[in-house]
């Protein structure tokens, strides 16, 4: 498209025709605040905080910069004139007029887009408009999260991500005008709806209206209890994002410091869910080859992402037999910690507490599911998000940036590169295919990369030819994409043997439990790409890149499980699913 020349605050800027003012200003090094706008998710121009003045030949007027396309040459834009500042301040004051300003006790204090902008704009009187205030009950009906509408600014980012990216749409704006609030149909609590617990709404919320159910106090208490043996494990994607909470650039892998911080928090063992991922591959690759070669139910669908599993149960209940029966990696690790490892260290599984640090809020739901209790007690006791771990580290006074790099503990800590990439879309499939390739060809240590299923495209497809055996695979991330793919599978338009689905767009690296990045970052950086790179780099730099060559996993089979898909595996590492309805 042709370029046009405009002036922003007197600075000449050349951008392609149709570029929004917000984007053009960014290229000129000028930030314009936004609330409702989130690139590719919510582009409704509704909140009016991003107003700027533009003169396209007919005098200056105020427009919403986030959605206003530049089409007129020589337009002049002012992003910080008195009129703009006045408009911005008025909008902020009106938002504050109904906002519950309990910043001291707010989980987002210090990381709140509203608080930050009030500070920038020098709001020195927060009660300019005193009058009626709506009062809402906190919705705590869901297993994984709270909604506190008293803090909601009605930006609708949560609504948009739930409907557009996740194809779920269980939250929306009800009523109108002053009475407008975000909620579910017929005032159902979120827990009564077909919410899949993905937590994407929390990840995009600019304020403290949405937050995970926090288990940091319970975990501190367990650590302090001498009668408990407390094991922690961390998912692949956590190490790719935790650093953001401590000022590291997005995409910094802080695995070593994270392990050190966990040791210092006082956990008895620091294990790696990547080990559980390698174990998952042993079971899942075996399950796939068994189904593929012996006429089992195909396409087989991965089951690592609990948001996806719940989505399948609600929205595609006829396909639950296509789900792999494998538990997810952290549930597998939990199961082995309370059986195999408990025997090794001579502990009663009842005295072992397993804490999983996950990029995910759906894992909070998953660990409470039925049929996730290999030792007769829950495989995993507490799931913390990446954000909660950061809170624990801060609360314990651990100076994260000054920590040395430490390793995970054995014997549930060694992992292959294949386990590392579980955190990105396509990673589980690639890990499984690497092992399947070796099994089918008999070349036990040949590493084959499957780059065609990497990257952030919503749906990826490939046909893999292994010694003349053709395997058709598809990978989807973001549940709206998953829904589209599955409809095509159901109608027969799409013929596939193996499907990987991750609930969150881009996979776990962009999970609902990951550090919240403000719109000012998300509108210009792709978190999915930056964080995934940390995992693919880790994989590429490892010598051990195949799950089936993980010595500690091999030892587990020799000493305890027998063989993949065997009787003991089925008892401890596999699970079942239920059909659910849509609400």
């Amino acid at each position: 498209m042709a370029d046009i020349n405009v002036k922003i605050n007197g600075i000449p800027v050349t951008v392609p025709k149709g570029t929004t003012i917000l984007e053009a200003a960014h290229t000129a090094g000028i930030d314009i605040p936004t609330f409702c706008y989130m690139k590719e998710i919510n582009e409704i121009g509704a909140c009016r905080i991003c107003m700027v003045e533009i003169n396209e030949g007919r005098g200056f007027r105020l427009v919403a910069s986030c959605v206003y396309p530049l089409n007129v040459d020589n337009a002049e834009i002012r992003t910080n004139s008195p009129k703009v500042m006045d408009s911005r301040r008025k909008t902020l004051e009106l938002i504050l007029s109904t906002h519950d300003k309990k910043c001291l006790s707010c989980v987002r204090s210090g990381n709140c887009e509203l608080q930050a902008l009030c500070n920038e704009m020098g709001i020195d009187h927060e009660d300019v408009y005193e009058g009626e205030k709506p009062v809402y009950e906190i919705d705590n009906s869901a297993v994984h999260m709270y909604r506190d509408n008293n803090k909601c600014i009605l930006c609708r980012r949560c609504v948009a991500v739930c409907e557009k990216w996740q194809g779920v749409g269980v939250i929306g704006a009800n009523e109108r005008g002053f009475k407008t609030f975000i909620g579910s149909a017929f005032e159902m609590g979120l827990g009564e709806t077909s919410c899949v617990s993905c937590g994407q709404c929390i990840a995009v919320c600019p304020v403290g209206a949405l937050s995970e159910k926090d288990y940091t106090d319970a975990v501190f208490k367990a650590i302090a209890d001498d009668s408990k043996y407390v094991i922690v494990q961390t998912a692949p994607a956590v190490r790719a994002a935790l650093g953001e909470e401590f000022g590291y650039p997005i995409g910094t892998n802080v695995e070593g410091k994270m392990a050190a911080a966990l040791h210092r928090l006082g956990f008895d063992n620091v294990f790696d869910t990547d080990w559980g991922a390698d174990l998952t591959i042993m079971e899942e690759a075996n399950e796939f080859l068994d189904r593929f070669q012996n006429g089992g139910k195909l396409p087989m669908m991965t089951s690592c992402s609990p948001g996806w599993v719940k989505y399948c149960e609600h929205y595609f209940p006829d396909l639950i037999d296509n789900l792999s029966s494998c538990k997810s990696p952290h549930q597998m690790l939990g199961a082995m910690a309370k059986t195999y490892y408990a025997e090794k260290i001579g502990k009663d599984p009842k005295d072992i507490v397993v804490v999983s640090v996950m990029p995910c809020t759906a894992k909070k739901f998953e660990c409470q599911r039925d049929d996730q209790n290999a030792a007769g007690v829950p495989d995993v006791d507490y799931v913390l998000t990446t954000r909660e771990l950061a809170r624990m580290i801060r609360r314990a006074g651990i100076k994260f940036t000054a920590l040395p790099d430490e390793d995970f503990d054995n014997p549930l800590g060694l992992s292959s590169g294949a386990g590392d990439i579980f955190g990105a879309t396509g990673g589980v499939m690639e890990a499984a295919l690497r092992t399947a390739y070796c099994k089918l060809t008999g070349k036990e240590d040949e590493i084959v990369e499957f780059k065609e299923i990497r990257g952030t495209d919503g749906i990826k497809r490939a046909e893999i030819d292994i010694n003349g055996t053709k395997i058709r695979v598809a990978v989807a991330s973001g549940l709206a994409n998953a829904g589209e793919l599955l409809k095509r599978v159901q109608s027969g338009e799409e013929k596939v043997d193996f499907i990987e689905i991750m609930a969150c767009p881009g996979g776990c690296v962009n999970g609902g439990g990951q550090p919240q990045q403000p719109a000012s970052v998300r509108n210009f950086e792709d978190l999915r790409v930056l964080r995934a790179k940390a995992l693919y780099d880790e994989d590429a730099n490892k010598e051990l890149r195949l799950s089936h060559l993980n010595e500690d996993v091999k030892k587990l089979y020799e000493e305890y499980l027998g063989r993949p898909g065997g009787h003991k595996s089925h008892k401890t590492l596999h699970t079942s699913y239920v059909k659910r309805s849509v609400n």
Binding site: Y136, E163, V168, G169, V170, I171, G172, A173, N174, E175, R176, K179, F181, G183, S184, A185, F186, E187, T193, V582, N583
Partner: protein, 163 residues
């Protein structure tokens, strides 16, 4: 915040058949939700969860999105009209003569809010603007019956006539 209606749903097979016909007629139209909701309300008189769920399933629109539209527009009702529909004038003349208090009293006695219906289906309550009887302010109507020059202590008496 609205509350869930407790009036039992008494939709007939005939009504459901008509609703499906309406949905079929609009299925391929962009922006079909509004006309479908309008016609559904004509068929049932209101839009309870049972009706919204049929529309949601058939049109593949999330239930919450439909509920959001229904609660946004004043033309849609989540509640049926009661056997006796009470309409309280909140127009200027009635309001300055205290119809707001009458309205509050009715909500208190009946235990329902604006636009709602009692669980037994007997009374529904709504506010209206000026019925042209300002000389009798404050005024309310129960179906076709008009009651004027009201005070809050007369409310119970009026309701008793319709028990």
């Amino acid at each position: 915040m609205a509350t869930k209606t407790t009036v039992p749903f008494n939709g007939t097979a005939e009504q459901e058949k008509r609703l499906h016909e309406v949905i079929d007629a609009h299925r391929s139209d962009p922006g079909a939700l509004m006309p479908v909701l309008q016609q559904a309300q004509e068929i049932y008189g209101y839009l309870p969860i049972e009706v919204q769920k049929i529309i949601s399933n058939e049109m593949e629109i999330p239930l919450e999105k439909i509920y959001g539209v229904v609660t946004f527009y004043a033309q849609f009702s989540l509640y049926p009209k009661g056997k006796y529909n009470i309409s309280v004038c909140l127009g200027t003349a009635c309001y300055v003569k205290g119809s707001g208090d009458i309205y509050d009293k009715l909500q208190e006695i009946l235990g329902i809010g604006d636009g709602e219906c009692t669980a037994d289906g007997r009374f529904s309550l709504e506010a209206c603007r000026c019925i042209g009887a300002c000389g009798l302010a404050p005024v309310l109507t129960v179906n076709e019956d008009v009651y004027g020059r009201l005070t809050t202590d007369k409310v119970k008496e009026i309701l008793d006539k319709y028990e």
